[in-house]
Symmetry: C2
């Protein structure tokens, strides 16, 4: 076994500048890039292929839990945004506003200008989220309890006019899914909220290999318009937290704002109960930052567009042909097991270049085969996660790789989990908190439950309460700042 290093691509190292490393990686691994439109990204084919894997898996999980997809308009009439008081506060300040519906030739001959005669009577907002337009629609779909529940998901683009953007993590336009469900009872809506939180957690851990903590947000971190916001929180390698998904119990807030009532089984009128839940292309950021290293991307096998790459090492065309034949057989065996494999026998790049390239791209397993391997009936296997190599017999190689991919998936998760465990500490005094927060990681501490104390901590340390964890220790204690009673420790961190 031997370690390899990346000679060809200049990634900034994580220790040197984590933020720059992330940006370099996203660009050099061909995942995404900034576009000519401020804050909007181009998701490149390789990045989009990973997103498609994420989408497909989540979509399957949504359908297994009884949801169906639909599509609602991109635009929201301005007046809709104002109908739910908290909602408008949260979203009006950062939205793209359509005011006109036509351009015309500039009378001065300088290109095209907005046609002042084509002004909309009411401005349209490019959806920052779709609760308002959807609940305005649900109003017509719901008369009685027989019309409930409605369990709809939408895959869509949304726009939030962010001032400081970062590829995948915070962009003006992003892709996401938003579930919007309607229920006859509070209990059922709460159950749905928690169910979808669990779906997200299962997806994050079993597919993205990112361990998450399930919790509920404090009032000040809640979704604008929600009664309760549940979330999954993950920890990145720089010790900063990243919120990977949220599931909101909306109570009857949107039903009241849009007057959506129904007749229950006893023919009594009541407002409908709601949830909404979403994950976005931000998950790509979590995926990249949680696992990757100074050599490039590390992808969990379950979400890797290619799980295996085969690189032939040949001296002449005759040798190449022999390797092609052997490789073809292996490819067929791998494909028969449902393994996604790429064969790169292009002759305009050297093997060394290819090795570095596929390392950068995070392909979990690389196979290399040369003349000696042909003679010996062997093949070299390199693991992306550990950067280790071994030479094995080609006999039974497909089954071996299938198991290896499972091991890699598990190993990546375990590594991230070990990291989180190592960087999760318990703190009892605010002095210690201020010291420890500089080191990054999750800090479990007692808090008195007031927004004032939360705000004070945020102002003084830049740390926010990531969530009040649902599982784990529920021992009461005293707020580290005020000494007032606390029902349980909450999780603090600096966050993306």
């Amino acid at each position: 076994m031997a370690k390899e290093t990346n000679q060809l691509k200049e990634l900034t190292s994580r220790s040197e500048n984590y933020s720059q490393w992330y940006n370099d990686l996203v660009l050099k691994a061909d995942l995404a890039e900034n576009s000519a439109v401020r804050g909007c990204m181009v998701i490149k084919p390789y990045g989009y292929a990973v997103w498609e894997k994420i989408q497909r898996q989540l979509d399957d999980m949504f359908k297994e839990t009884g949801h169906v997809n639909a599509y609602f308009p991109l635009f929201i009439p301005k007046s809709f945004l104002s109908k739910e008081a908290d909602h408008v506060e949260g979203f009006a300040k950062e939205c793209a506003v359509v005011t006109h519906y036509r351009l015309k030739n500039d009378p001065n001959g300088k290109g095209i200008v907005v046609d002042p005669e084509a002004k909309l009577e009411e401005e349209l907002i490019v959806r920052p989220t779709s609760e308002t337009i959807i609940w305005n629609t649900y109003k017509n779909w719901i008369q009685s309890y027989r019309d409930l529940p409605i369990l709809i998901n939408q895959w869509a683009n949304v726009v939030r006019w962010e001032m400081r953007t970062r590829l995948f993590l915070r962009t003006a336009e992003f892709l996401w899914q938003e579930g919007h469900t309607a229920h006859a009872t509070r209990e059922e809506a709460v159950e749905e909220t928690i169910k979808m939180l669990s779906v997200y957690a299962e997806f994050a851990e079993n597919f993205m290999a990112v361990p998450v903590i399930k919790g509920v947000k404090t009032a000040s971190e809640r979704f604008a318009g929600a009664v309760d916001t549940y979330c999954i929180e993950s920890l990145m390698q720089d010790g900063k937290a990243l919120q990977a998904g949220t599931s909101h119990f909306l109570g009857q807030n949107f039903a009241k704002a849009f007057d959506v009532q129904f007749l229950d089984k006893e023919s009594k009128r009541d407002y409908v109960w709601a949830t909404s839940w979403g994950v976005s292309t931000r998950l790509m950021g979590a995926l990249i930052m949680a696992h990757s290293d100074d050599n490039g991307l590390v992808l969990p096998p379950k979400l890797a567009p290619y799980q295996v790459v085969i690189v032939p090492i040949f001296k002449d065309e005759a040798g190449m042909k022999l390797i092609d034949e052997r490789a073809e057989k292996i490819i067929q065996e791998l494909k028969a097991l449902g393994i996604r494999v790429k064969y790169d026998n292009s002759d305009n790049k050297k093997p060394g270049w290819k090795f570095a390239e596929y390392e950068l791209k995070g392909i979990p397993v690389r196979l290399a085969m040369g003349a000696r391997d042909l003679e010996n009936g062997t093949i070299e296997i390199a693991r992306r996660d550990t950067l280790t190599k071994e030479t094995v017999s080609v006999e039974g190689i497909a089954g071996y790789i299938q198991q290896l991919l499972e091991d890699i998936q598990q190993n990546i998760f375990q590594k991230a989990l070990d990291f989180r465990v190592k960087h999760t500490i318990t703190v009892d005094t605010y002095a210690e908190f201020k010291e420890k927060i500089e080191e990054g990681g999750f800090i479990l501490a007692h808090w008195d439950g007031t927004p004032e104390t939360e705000e004070l901590i945020k102002d003084e340390t830049k740390a926010t309460i990531r969530c009040i964890p649902l599982d784990g220790d529920k021992t009461p204690g005293q707020c580290m700042v005020t000494g007032r009673p606390s029902t349980q420790r909450v999780i603090f961190a600096r966050a993306y």
Copy 2:
């Protein structure tokens, strides 16, 4: 065998008012509805499920032909639109313009208003199509012939501010895919254009069961910015044509507009060659109009969300239980063959209601099972396409249905093809043309190749040249209007 009629749902009949029939059908079959936003539709879960089938199949076909997906920004800087002279003429007049990026509370206390201080320096256009933003991006991706070809597709929403809208057929916002490819040679780009036209034709005929004619558009019907626009044209039951997909050879127009040059193998600089191609949710309109009848939707099995529905007919709970057991076995057999089946044993609807409902929804095969069937080991099969019924043994039912679904797929296509053949005529004089065009259908006639004659015919008859067909009779002749020479007959029709 017996005919059934729909007692429960009041669809306007096609003969009474085809346009109203279409609208009724889209609404009553729960496919889509108008939203609160002018010209924007809500695609309801059942309609979206059909669209997902369309998407998945097309996506597979794009990938089989070497394409990958990516994602480009929703917004296009206004100045980009002007860079290609024809393009701006075609798209500036009907676009949604974002001028501001923030709302604020109305100082007069009346909700929220656009914040005049948040005016964009340059307006952004909600993409009506993405050639400009994509070619501006490709500029940075392409240096040499080694970077070519680029074969990218995007699934996205686009907005064209249409004044008169109809669900699926013409909406302000619609969903589509747009392929944008870049090539080193004219030949390769033309080949790609034709290849994707063939993919569309294959999809339309083999999956949608809609026969299409492949052809090229006249100059006046060309995509704004294209050198040649190829299309597939289909014929609806009211005798009007519907353009189901287009594939554009863009020449070097966009490469020149965005200065995208490359070094060829001989190290000579040249502009890159381009294609673009797209189909949209308009296909849903074609699918609905081509096959459906006065009882509701008729879906080709390959695109039906459910291919089979099973309706139990029971008198009491004990009988129900027995039928449930028998049905479960059949469901397992059908699923094992990959057949999508729904079992509706809800007890709050009568079988008659269910029959009408699933007829309206276009489920290709309905199975009904009652007490007598249980005794006899039989089941009743109803075909949606022919509205015929038969009773068969449950032995080997799954294989029987698998074959039946293939027959139905084929029959629906054949019916649409027969209709088109019957409604395609050849006309030699303009007088006859004016008479025949009133009857609808495709008219093959000679045309002198000038936009003036084309315009005259359009003004006088509302008929447009749908395409110059690629296949079939290429005999020259004389223009039916001017008597001037014509190279071949072209296809006229009134169109959606």
